[in-house]
Symmetry: C2
Subunit: 342 residues, 2 copies
Amino acid sequence: MTDFVDVRSMVRWMLESGVERLITRMSAYVEDDFRRWETFDKTPRIASHTPYGVIELMPTSDYETYSFKYVNGHPSNPARGFQTVTAFGVLSQVHNGYPVLLAEMTLLTAMRTAATSAMAARHLARPDASRMALIGAGSQSEFQALAFRGALGIEDLAVWDTDPDAVSKLERNLAPLGFRIERAASGRDAVRGADVVTTCTADKALARVLEDAWIEPGMHLNAIGGDCPGKTELDPAILERGDVFVEYTPQTRIEGEIQQLGPDSPVTELWEVVAGRRPGRTSRDQLTIFDSVGFAIEDFSALRFLRDEVTGTSYTAALDLVAEPDDPKDLFGLVAAMAPVG
Amino acid sequence: MTDFVDVRSMVRWMLESGVERLITRMSAYVEDDFRRWETFDKTPRIASHTPYGVIELMPTSDYETYSFKYVNGHPSNPARGFQTVTAFGVLSQVHNGYPVLLAEMTLLTAMRTAATSAMAARHLARPDASRMALIGAGSQSEFQALAFRGALGIEDLAVWDTDPDAVSKLERNLAPLGFRIERAASGRDAVRGADVVTTCTADKALARVLEDAWIEPGMHLNAIGGDCPGKTELDPAILERGDVFVEYTPQTRIEGEIQQLGPDSPVTELWEVVAGRRPGRTSRDQLTIFDSVGFAIEDFSALRFLRDEVTGTSYTAALDLVAEPDDPKDLFGLVAAMAPVG
C-alpha cells in the first residue's frame, strides 16, 4: 500500500503543527539537501506548454529515494475560479521502484517555496533584517511572511498589490498572527526602508514590479515570481548591480529573472554557498538577489520532510496503487483469483 | 475531486467486463490515436537509471487532454517478490491543468501493451494467421494471447520459457479460456510453423531468443521484450532481413531491437501505416517485425478508454487531491478556515 496525504489531511497537519513551525523545520531539510546537491540526479523540468498555461513534471533522485512533482501554472485560472498553481507529488524507493508516498502538493509547494526563500535569506540577507516589503499579496504571500519570521524574526511588513482586496485578505490572515502590516501606496512606497524585498506576483509578462532606482544598498531581494520564459519581475539594471544567486543555472537561464541578461552573466548557485564553497553575503552594503524559480530538489526535501512527519499517523491513508500478485510473474492471475468460485 | 481507480477496482472492472473484450476495445482507441499521431506533443520518456533498474515518466498531450505514466522496470524484482514493472498514471485537463483521473496502471499497462500489439498485427500479420508462438510466459503473456484472439482469432499457442513453472502458470490461466496450448521443447520448436511470433521475455541482456535460421517467410514478429538500452531479444540478422515497424523512432533507436543496427537503418513508423501514408504488409511472404518499446500515446489511449468506461461508475472513488479554496488567491485561508472557532 502507498501512503496518501490528501488535501484535508494536509490542512489538518498544517493547522495542528503550525504553518510557521513547519516551514522553519522544512527549511532545514531543504538546506540539508542543498548541502549534498552534487549527489542528486538533476534534470530541467519537463514542460508541456499551451496558450492556457503549462503542465510540468519535476523529477529528481538521490539514488536511494526518487521523487517527482506534477505542477501546473495557468495565469488565467483565478479569473475562472481555479488555482493558478496546483500540484501533487510522489516519493518512491529506488531499489524496487515502488511508490511509497503520494501527497497533495498545492499546499506543500506553498510551504516549500517559502522554506527555500527562508533558507536562502539566512545565507544572503543581513542577520538583523527587521522589515520586509511584500510585492504581491496572492497565494504565496502569507507563507513568505511566516517563513521570514521563522528565519529572521521579521514582523514588520509593507505590502503592495494592484488588487486592494488581495491586500485586505493578507491583513485578515496575518494580523491575528502578530504581524505589523503597512498597506503601501505603491511598490516604491513598500520598498522604501525595507531590509528584504519579496516579489511574488503572478502576471505572466516581462513586468517591472521593482525599479532599479528604488533599491537601496544592503537589501536582499527574494525574487520568486519570475519563473518561466516571458515572466519576470525585475528591472534588469538591478540584476547587473547586485549579486545574483540561483538554484540550478541551466533552468534559471531559461525561466528566471536572468533570462533578461546574456547567457554568461555571473551567477552563484546557492548550494555552493550552503556547502561553504563560495561566499554568500560579504558586506552590509552588498545587494543580494535570490533569483528563485523552484527546483525539483526542493520538492524532494518537502516530501522527505512530510514522510518523516506523517508516517504512521492519522494524516495518511492507505492507497491501493500497486498491484501485488502472490506470484510476481502471474499478474493475470490477479484477475482470475478474484473471480467468484463456480 | 479527482477520480481514482485503484487496483481492486481495476481488477473488478477487468473481471466484470472481460479482459479480451477490454483489450479489443482499447485497441480501437490506440488505433484512433495513432491515426492522429501528428497532433500529439511527443517527447522521449524521462528515465532515471540506477543499477537496480529504471524509473520513468512518460508524458504526452493532444492539447486538450494531458497524460503521464509513472513506470518502473526492475529485472531483479521478481526474485525478491516484487513486480518487474509497476505503474500508475494521470489524465488532466489542459485548459486548467487539473488532474481528473488517477489510475493504477500495472494492470492497465499490461492491457495497453497487448492492445497495441493487436493493433499492429491487424496491419502487419497475415489476416488468416492461426498459430502464435509465445516466447516468454511472464506477466505479459496471457494478455498477448487474449489480444491476438480478439484481433485475429488465434487460438493455437506454442509456448516456450526457460522457467517451466511459468509455462504451467500460463496453461493454468489460459486453458480454461479455450486456447489450445502446446508446451514447446525449445524456442526453435515453438516458432516452427507459427504465423505470429511474440517475444516477451524480461531478461535485461543483449539476448537472442530468436535466431535468424528459425524465421520463416510470411511470419509477423511481435517483439515487445527489447525495450531499454542493453535489452534486446532478436538476432540482428532478422532485423536486416525483415521490414521493421516502430512507434516513435527517436525512442526506439535507443531502446528497441534496432539499437543493434546503425542509426540510419530503415524503419516505418506504425502511425504512418495506420494513417494510410505507407503500406503495412504488402505480400504473403513478407517478414514483418513490430519492434515495440511502448510509447506515451498508448498510455494516453488506455487512460482515455478507462475514463470513458468508468466515469460515473462504482469503479471510481473520489480523491481529494487538488486544494480548492473559495478564493483562488487565498490558499492560506484554507488553513485558517478549518481552524476550530474560539
